[in-house]
Subunit: 145 residues, 2 copies
Amino acid sequence: MNIGNVSEQSGLPAKTIRYYEDIGLVQPSRRENGYRDFAVQDLHKLAFLGRARSLGFSIDECRTLLSLYEDRERSSADVKAIAQSHLARVDQKIEELQALSATLRDLVVRCHGDDRPDCPIMDDLTRSDLRRREIIPLEQPSEHW
Amino acid sequence: MNIGNVSEQSGLPAKTIRYYEDIGLVQPSRRENGYRDFAVQDLHKLAFLGRARSLGFSIDECRTLLSLYEDRERSSADVKAIAQSHLARVDQKIEELQALSATLRDLVVRCHGDDRPDCPIMDDLTRSDLRRREIIPLEQPSEHW
DNA sequence: ATAGTCCTTCCACCTACTGGAAGGTCAAGG
DNA sequence: CCTTGACCTTCCAGTAGGTGGAAGGACTAT
């Protein structure tokens, strides 16, 4: 199977599939002309990856999940542990964003939004006294969503 | 003021402050020895940036907010518009994550998590029929959280 | 033969920084 | 005067997970 075909069937862009090969998630064989030749198992793997990614699992988690996927002796506990810790991260992110949303909503509501320059949003951003408000920690750059 | 001092007072790492100079958010002058020399206004700007970033505004939004910050004639409507669209993005992200959380939670609950290999989580990831479930769109790489 | 589509590799770019190396500067102590 | 240590400088590379595009080979249909 050519990459275009696999791309269509898995729903993943060809670029992404090549990238996944680059980082070792799939190992398609090659034809004489240099074209990648995907087996049906590769297609399954890629669909698996697409679903796992859409559920927000990191590439590293996907790697582990793939190895469990291919392990007929795996214990469901191992799978569950990964999903659980991912779920915890998601829930924590939700909480952070909810706090953020509340703060922003409050500011937006209090801003009259007309031609005049005075603005509670600006006042908040300008105020240097950090104790006056809930401090929301800076986003960690490692958290890519 | 030296960068270490400004870093301490603004709460931003020195690296970040240099980066902000790189991308043109602040323009400290230089001493004869090559050291950056920050004015009090720069400190205010950096504190402003730190707060705006902690509220999740993008660097580009911060750039606009900074120009509004320095514009005594600005209209609060301009500020409000930026905050509102940011709030909308945050709220949409929350909704996406909540759907994700629900899906993950369901899978985790249904997985017994013992030594046996059968696992509803794996079943979900393996199933290639996409119609059977709510399809959660792939994360856009432009959304960095 | 040629046009159009597919495939290949490679390099750069995105966000918003962070880590580290190599080296210059400054203030205090011996 | 010299050294030590804390600062400061620039520059390069790496993070996650791809995406965009260029240059060029391969295949198919006319």
